[in-house]
Amino acid sequence: MEFPGLRTQNYMKKIEAIIKPFKLEEVKDALSEIGVEGMTVTEVKGFGRQKGHTEIYRGSEYTVDFLPKIKIEAVVADSRLDAAVAAIVKAARTGKIGDGKVFVSKIDEAVRIRTEEKGEQAV
């Protein structure tokens, strides 16, 4: 399997969004609406400005700085990037601290395992 030249271009982006768990459904729907057909979701714990809580187990106290979040990864064609990011931000926003982030980075290549389709066809 060869990818001539492809690796120099950047025609796909990966969007990583860290959101509050209960917003997942809304974000998913928002993305589907604008035609993002696939994404991968991971359960994560987030540390940030949103202050954690103290847990007390008998003698031992812990400050739990890590709060449950959900990470959404979606690889999209450049053409879809802005719309996708906008959709996520809109759907995930509560206005309260801890709403999360969206990170964008380049993807050099994508392959659909089933068909070996590459590039935009794969996502």
């Binding site: 209960f22 459904e25 449950p68």
Partner: protein, 481 residues
């Protein structure tokens, strides 16, 4: 251990005062009477109170053993049974809150019970309220109280009944899960016990209770409730409905998916509930006698049939029989048979099982969505609906052949026909219970709302009650996250 000897001699000592007939110096009780008393123990019959035999003041081992085990089984229903059944159905961030509510209610109610709850509920007094003579369980010792169990220690009976008083408010938790303040729950339960539970228990089970159809000839309503269809399930279920309506829906209800965080825990809880329920139902005979035996059979058949029915309805209507379906059916069966178990036959139990698998199903799947109230874990759909159906079916299916006491004490009401007079008595009892629960809960809810507020803040609800209200999380991965 050797204590026995000691104990015997004590009995002797005591007796000198209490039962001269038994004292060394007095003529011994007739052998005839002593044998009759022994026979009474075996058949759970009336004690020889005229002649004071060696058995005087002693519980009967078989019955006492059964009652202690039954009490333990009923506690098992709440801890951890109900805590698991409910806890498995909530979201992960609220699992501990449900468990804390069960544990908190257990401690709280036990204290109220010792304080005066038992006395109010079971000491003879007014038709709807006892007295304070047994406050602090004063005088509630190991000697049987023949009003409630000729051969079971009074203190064991009081503890057995305490387990009922504990699980009843705990059932309400299901409807208001994931959003009610812990402090509000404690306050609500405290008042609710005095306004709803203690009076209801007295009316239905108190020896002079106004709805105690079997044992109180002067009852205003000649209704019957073997193990608590009205006292336990209707009272908690209807109160739960009102409370969850006043409380309002959970944030995101209907929008976000809120699947059970662990159907596994829920199923484990169901198994424990079923097993523990034998203490609840058969134990309500307050003896390991013929009535208990019948209750054991009817409880088993109704539950198994209801569980299978619910599952098969899903199979037909939804294409998939779910664990939650089998579990809900089992619990519904247990609820509906509760008031009936000591009064119906095996076939009556099977009929009850079929109905218990169908009607609550209908309420949980359809009615709830029609009205759109957020009865989080279906306390209303299962316990209120089930308890009400149960009370009614008890009226329809109670048979003299199933319980001799009906023939003796309710001849006029139980005529072994579907529309026997008892049915109307049951309807009256249902009405009264319903009103008490609904009115009582409404008033209390608003009082509590005024005093401490009912609901947690949006932020607390979002983050989850475990972290915010109890400072703990249900599960931790490696690294403590």
């Amino acid at each position: 251990m050797k204590k026995l000897i000691a104990f015997l001699s004590l009995i002797a000592v005591i007796s000198c005062g209490v039962f001269p007939a038994f004292a060394a110096d007095a003529p011994a009780p007739k052998l005839e009477d002593r044998v009759t008393d022994l026979e009474a123990y075996v058949t759970n019959g009336a004690r020889q109170t005229n002649a004071a035999t060696a058995l005087a003041a002693s519980p009967g081992p078989g019955h006492n053993a059964f009652q202690m085990v039954s009490a333990a089984l009923v506690l098992f229903m709440t801890l951890p049974g109900l805590a698991l059944f409910y806890g498995g159905l909530v979201r992960r961030k609220n699992i501990l809150s449900v468990m804390a509510q069960c544990l908190g209610i257990t401690g709280l109610v036990a204290i109220l019970w010792w304080l005066c709850g038992y006395s109010i509920a079971f000491h003879s007094g007014k038709p709807f309220w006892g007295t304070f003579d047994w406050a602090f369980l004063k005088g509630v010792d190991s000697t049987p109280n023949t009003d409630y169990g000729a051969w079971v220690s009074h203190n064991v009976f009081s503890m057995y009944q305490m387990m009922f008083a504990i699980i009843t408010p705990a059932l309400i938790v299901g409807a208001i899960a994931e959003r009610m303040k812990f402090s509000a729950i404690l306050l609500f339960v405290t008042i609710w016990m005095f306004v709803v539970y203690f009076p209801l228990a007295h009316m239905v089970w108190g020896i002079d209770g106004m709805m105690n159809g079997v044992w109180n000839p002067n009852a205003k309503i000649h209704a019957i409730d073997f193990a608590g269809g009205t006292v336990v399930h209707m009272s908690s279920g209807w109160s739960a409905l009102i409370l969850c309506i006043i409380l309002g829906k959970r944030l995101g209800f209907g929008k976000e998916p809120m699947p059970p965080h662990s159907m596994v825990l829920c199923m484990v809880g169901t198994g424990m509930l079923w097993v523990g329920w034998y203490g609840f139902n058969a134990g309500s005979a307050v003896a390991a006698d013929v009535v208990a035996a019948n209750a054991f059979l009817t409880t088993t058949m109704a539950t198994a049939v209801a569980s299978f029915t619910w599952g098969m309805i899903e199979y037909v209507l939804k294409g998939k029989p779910s664990i939650l379906g089998f579990c809900s059916g089992a619990v519904a069966g247990l609820v509906v048979i509760t008031p009936a178990c000591g009064f119906v036959t095996a076939n009556g139990a099977v009929i009850i099982g079929l109905i218990a698998g169908a009607i609550p199903f209908f309420f949980c799947y359809k009615v709830k969505n029609w009205f759109g109230y957020d009865d989080a874990l279906d306390t209303f759909g299962v316990h209120a609906v089930g308890g009400t159906i149960g009370a009614l079916l008890t009226g329809i299916l109670a048979r003299n052949s199933a319980n001799a006491n009906l023939a003796t004490n309710l001849k006029a009401y139980v005529t072994d026909s579907a529309l026997q007079p008892l049915v109307w008595e049951q309807l009256k009892a249902i009405g009264l219970t319903l009103c008490l629960a609904i009115v009582g809960t409404t008033v209390i809810a608003f009082i509590v709302k005024a005093v401490v507020g009912l609901r947690v803040s949006e932020e607390v609800e979002t983050i989850g009650l475990d972290l915010s209200e109890h400072g703990e999380e249900g599960y931790h991965a490696e690294g403590g996250i």
